[in-house]
């Protein structure tokens, strides 16, 4: 037994060693030489014989006919700009220069004279060159010069800016993030035109080499937050990052909690608002889902539209969302508890009609509720993944079979159908917590079917205690309720009018606390006082 464990340990240690060796290798990247042929050979060795790699040798159109080569990857580059602004000037227009010597003493001079593209940099190592090419840049090597010019020619087919699928709004901007990082940063920059808005990019993923950008507003962001994010991001040592969900799972505070401690959104306006409240956002190339930290529990019940519409209905809707969260976690549990243990808690007429509805149902209440809940989850999963046309068919079959046939066959009681339906609808009202609520619903359901209402109370207390222990990047999850920050309550259960939201949420940041002036309440002058 112990020897087995010891072996495992040894294996782990080996793994660690391998990893550290990898890192050492990365640090020792070969330098680019002055010899073009050697360089090209090295590049070919690394990139192999992939079809999409273009190596374009040519001769600089100067007197000494220097040999040069362009390296790029087909599909990632904007061909037109490579042709018009790199190849053409270098090969043809260079001839018109009246220079007797070799054109370039160093290749940086080429940027000054011939390369007509804004973003150009010089690299010295082979790895840098390859990495940048794989991002869509074009590398220019000139014989006789060590190093290479990296010219930004990125341009590939990408989806346009569309309305976000997951967070639709009636009133408010219709644009959503796309899969391209640069487009996403631009979308944020367009909302906040402040020089303090800072983007910091790092590359994560040994093989995917995904760009991950931290966005924050200098001078407002929670002190220490950016450093903490960077620290956690740097720890990620994995070979593939496909979506921001990968990042989220590597840096979250409570990996075993059903509650997410990192928010995600598809809407630039949401991200902009959160950045203005002192949060930071993490953009990941290749996904429209942007992470925001820190996340408070109350944020699940807020949407951007709350702030766009006037406060009355927005507040009511917010309370409604909280109510539906409670319904979605408690409804099946309460049904089971009431029908199996606490029949005396129902009003008499309701008790009698529920009893008569359960007449002839062959399953105990908890099994009945469990099976129907299971059927609903299957139906939902099938409906989401299927193409829309088939999805409709599934929902019709599901609705008919479960809603109608099951009741008339006497397999389930009609009140339960209502309970399951209201649970399902409610869980869709609070999308950010729908994962958590599905899990909690099941736990409470089990507790209720064994211990009744006592079980539900124990479960709810347990969840409350758990929520109180959670922290998201140093901020208590239940803030501003626990710890109580009275000034922050303006944006919780009730959404105060915008002219009363004077300060930034103090549980997130205390820097630059006042975001608007006092006394902004609109007071149109009385007609009588005019003149």
């Amino acid at each position: 037994m112990f020897s087995f464990l010891a072996k495992k340990l040894k294996f782990l240690q080996l793994l660690k060693k391998n990893l550290s060796q990898d890192q050492e290798e990365q640090n020792k990247s070969p330098q680019l030489t002055a010899n073009l042929k050697t360089n090209l050979q090295m590049i070919k060795n690394i990139l192999g014989n992939s079809d999409d790699i273009i190596i374009r040798p040519f001769v600089l159109g100067t007197k000494d006919q220097q040999e040069a080569a362009l390296i790029m990857i087909d599909g990632l580059i904007d061909k037109a700009s490579v042709h018009d602004f790199i190849i053409k000037p270098l090969m043809l227009e260079s001839r018109s220069l009246n220079d007797n010597d070799s054109l370039a003493d160093s290749i940086e001079e080429l940027t000054e004279t011939l390369v007509c593209i804004a973003e150009v940099k010089k690299v010295k190592t082979l790895d840098e060159l390859v990495n940048d090419c794989l991002k869509g840049d074009t590398a220019l090597l000139v014989n006789g010069h060590p190093g290479a010019l990296i010219i930004n020619t990125r341009g590939w087919k990408s989806r346009g800016i569309e309305q976000p699928q997951t967070e639709v709004s009636v009133r408010g901007p219709r644009e959503g993030f796309t899969e391209t990082l640069r487009v996403n940063t631009a979308l944020i920059r367009r909302k906040i035109r402040d020089p303090d808005l800072t983007f910091e990019t790092m590359t994560i993923g040994k093989r995917s080499k995904t760009d991950v950008t931290i966005v924050y507003l200098k001078g407002v962001v929670r002190p220490g937050l950016v450093e903490e994010i960077k620290k956690r991001l740097k720890k990620i040592n994995t070979d593939l990052i496909l979506e921001s969900g990968y990042i989220e799972q590597f840096i979250e505070d409570a990996p075993f909690s059903p509650f997410s401690t990192i928010g995600n959104t598809e809407r630039p306006d949401t991200v902009a608002a959160k950045i203005m409240e002192g949060r930071a956002a993490i953009l990941v190339d290749g996904t429209p889902m942007v992470l925001t930290v820190p996340l408070l529990f109350i944020e699940s019940f807020q949407t951007m539209e709350d702030y766009y519409s006037r406060p009355y209905y927005a507040s009511v809707v917010r309370l409604l969302r909280m109510l539906s969260f409670f319904i979605s976690i408690m409804a099946p549990a309460t049904y089971v508890a009431l029908t199996t243990f606490h029949q005396e808690l129902l009003p008499t007429p309701l008790a009698l009609s529920m009893a008569s509805a359960r007449e002839g149902v062959p399953f105990p209440a908890f099994l009945e509720a469990f099976l129907l809940g299971l059927a609903f989850e299957i139906l939902r999963e099938a409906g989401i993944r299927l193409p829309q046309a088939v999805g409709t068919a599934i929902s019709i079959v599901g609705a008919l079979v479960i809603g109608e046939a099951a009741v008339s066959a006497g397999l389930v009681s009609a009140p339960l159908i209502i309970v399951v339906a209201i649970t399902a609808i409610s869980s869709f009202a609070v999308i950010p917590q729908s994962d958590a609520s599905a899990f909690i619903r099941f736990i409470l359901f089990l507790l209720a079917s064994t211990l009744g209402i006592f079980g539900i109370s124990v479960g709810l207390l347990g969840i409350l205690i758990h929520l109180a222990t959670l922290k998201s990047f140093g901020v208590p999850y239940l803030a501003p309720f626990a710890p109580l920050k009275p000034a922050d309550l303006k944006d919780t259960l009730i959404r105060f009018p915008l002219w009363l939201m004077i300060t930034r949420p103090s549980s997130i940041t205390k820097k630059d606390p006042q975001r608007e002036k006092w006394g902004l309440m609109p007071r149109p002058q009385d007609d009588n006082n005019k003149g």
């Binding site: 029908t339 199996t340 029949q343 005396e344 008499t348 008790a351 009698l352 009609s353 529920m354 009893a355 008569s356 509805a357 359960r358 007449e359 002839g360 149902v361 209440a365 009609a414």
Partner: protein
């Protein structure tokens, strides 16, 4: 839920065997309630089932239901506890302990006394409801439309039973030949034994003093017996003022009543201050006579249904210690003064009667 028989009404009678009690439970037969929308169903059969068992104690009888019923009798939804007249006259004390002790019984179920056997009441056909319990419950809930029946919950009843001086009362329920169930009058208990009845009129006399007459119709008697006027009571307040003077116990009851002129079948015009005032006086007279009638009955039975003893207890705690055990000798000689102040507020949508003079 499917293992329970929901009890709506509990009837308690004397069993034929001496010393035993007969329990009748009215349960809802949930198999007969057709779920709404399933169409058809119904018929004349009401979905109720009466079960009868006898036992030495109430609890024993209740457990015996499990011999025949596949479902356990479930009491929290029961609405009324009805004692048969015979067992009430013999004393309900023996048969109320279970209901006080058992957690399944709610304290707010109504206690009633049946004219005759309680089991006969449970066989009655309540109009519009399918269980006797629900019907009785709703009738008692809206007692103040007449104020001539008194709603007594188990809690009230036990409180009066435990008091040394205040006598328990309970509404009387009866069933006629058409099997219709009606509530009429009040049973008066001395300790736990029923000793007499109050008429509906006397019952309202009691309710005035108990501060519970918040509605009802007072019909005024005018000199001409064909002419009648009905006043609708909308509120009343009562103050009980006990007094000990010259070693005599006196009680003053001050009733302030508000009402509306509800109906008149006389052509007289009351829309002047003088005749309006006469209406006030007539109303006050009726209330006074109702209270006095109830008081007279109570003294006859020597049962302090008004709780005057408690009033003395509160005001004269020191003297009370001497009186308390001897209250039965004081109560019949208690002097009662009734002061009624009646205010008629409105005359409805009409000012004068449309009747030709």
């Amino acid at each position: 839920m499917e293992t329970l028989a929901f009890v709506t009404t509990i009837g308690i009678d004397k069993a034929e065997e001496p010393g035993k009690v007969e329990l009748t439970l009215q349960t809802v037969d949930t198999t007969k309630i057709s779920p709404p929308g399933s169409g058809g169903g119904g018929g004349d059969d009401k979905p109720v089932l009466n079960l009868k068992k006898t036992g030495n104690t109430v609890f024993e009888a209740i457990r015996k239901f499990n011999y025949e019923s596949s479902r356990r009798p479930f009491f929290p939804h029961s609405q009324a506890l009805i004692y048969g007249e015979e067992i009430a006259r013999e004393g309900v004390g023996k048969y109320i302990d279970f209901f006080e002790r058992d957690p399944e019984i709610r304290r707010n179920i109504y206690v009633l006394v049946a004219k005759g056997e309680a089991s006969k009441i449970l066989e009655g056909q309540p109009p519009l409801e399918y269980t006797v319990g629900v019907s009785i419950n709703r009738v008692l809930d809206k007692y103040s439309t007449t104020s001539q029946i008194i709603p007594i919950t188990l809690h009230d009843f036990l409180g009066r039973l435990l008091s040394k001086t205040t006598a328990p009362v309970a509404p009387i329920v009866l069933v006629n030949k058409e099997k219709n169930i009606t509530l009429a009058g009040t049973a008066v208990f001395k300790e736990d034994k029923m000793i007499g009845e109050l008429t509906p009129r006397e019952t309202r006399g009691l309710l005035w003093v108990l501060n519970k007459a918040k509605g009802g119709i007072i019909t005024l008697e005018l000199p001409n017996p064909n002419e009648k006027i009905s006043i609708e009571v909308i509120n009343s307040q009562c103050k009980i003022i006990p007094e000990i003077k010259d070693n005599k116990l006196k009680i003053t009851v001050e009733i302030r009543e508000e009402g509306n002129l509800g109906e008149q079948n006389t052509p007289e015009d009351f829309s002047n201050e003088k005749s309006w005032d006469s209406l006030n006086k007539l109303t006050a007279g009726v209330i006074r006579s109702e209270v006095l009638a109830a008081f007279k009955k109570a003294q006859e039975f020597n049962a302090d249904i008004f709780g005057f003893g408690e009033a003395f207890h509160r005001k004269y705690p020191a003297v009370w210690r001497e009186i308390e055990d001897d209250w039965d000798n004081y109560f019949p000689f208690l002097e009662l003064t009734v002061k009624v102040e009646s205010t008629i507020r409105e005359s409805g949508l009409a000012i004068k009667s449309a009747m030709p003079k």
